[in-house]
Point group: C2
Chain length 135, copies 2
DNA sequence: TAAAACTATAAAGCTACTATAAGGTCAATA
DNA sequence: TATTGACCTTATAGTAGCTTTATAGTTTTA
């Protein structure tokens, strides 16, 4: 299987596959005589794992960490769970921050309507004067 | 006022001020004979405006856009409000996406406990097998 | 046979800074 | 006077996770 086929199979771009290889997330595949990469099913699984982790918002470093655990199958999986717990609390704090931001933006938006000149715009005034009561 | 004082006043690093100047967000200040930048109160206000916009999550491009509106004070401020509305819906969709992600992560986490070997880890299995029922 | 489609590498671009390097300026001190 | 320390200057590289571009070689198709 060549890189284009693998890319289509998993739904990524070929450059992304080369990038993951360069980053040490995908093992370097064998090469044909012409230098073309040849992939196996294992590579497909590895790539799919990476993509699912990315969809879950894990960083490449965290993915690397997970892979290192997989190389040690008889260790307890405490660290895996801890990694996920950390990530969950990270996501939760992002949500909290964005919700606070939304409130702020909505209240800023409420200070204006479309029938004004820029000079009298409540939004711009609100930003300029720092009426940004954050809590 | 020199760059260090301005930086301290607004609470940014001096490099950030130079960066904003280079990006066209802050007007180039006058220079002393020795080449040192000299800032006025206007610059302070401009910099504070930029920082407040950044706290609101606006990109430098959006800030640039807002500044261009400020240069035309007698235009209607429709575009300003539209920019904010767009940003609010952007923030809201981020929140929605993160909430869905959180659910996914929590359910994944629930599929394991700390008393297993990596080989039998419910989290790793969940990712590997793609049990990632997204809705 | 020639063009289209695929592969390769290397390097730059994206965002919004932050950090580092190498040096010039200025006031106070030894 | 020499030097130390704090400040300023520019230019360049690094961060994350790719994407884009440039340039070139290979294979497949028309």
């Amino acid at each position: 299987m060549r890189i284009g086929q693998l890319a289509q199979l998993v739904g990524v771009e070929t450059q992304t596959i080369r990038f993951y290889e360069q980053q040490g997330l995908l093992p370097p595949p064998d090469r044909q005589d012409n230098g073309y990469r040849v992939y196996t099913e294992k590579h497909g699984e590895g790539l799919a794992f990476i993509r699912r982790c990315r969809i879950l918002g894990l960083s490449l470093a965290e993915i690397h960490e997970l892979q290192s655990y997989q190389d040690d199958p008889h260790q307890p999986c405490t660290a895996v769970n801890a990694l996920l717990d950390d990530h969950i609390s990270h996501v939760r704090s992002q949500i909290t921050a964005l919700q606070a931001l939304e409130k702020q933006l909505v209240s800023l938006r409420a200070s204006c309507n479309d029938n004004r000149e820029v000079e009298a715009c409540g939004v711009l005034a609100g930003i300029s004067e720092g009426n940004m009561h954050q809590q």
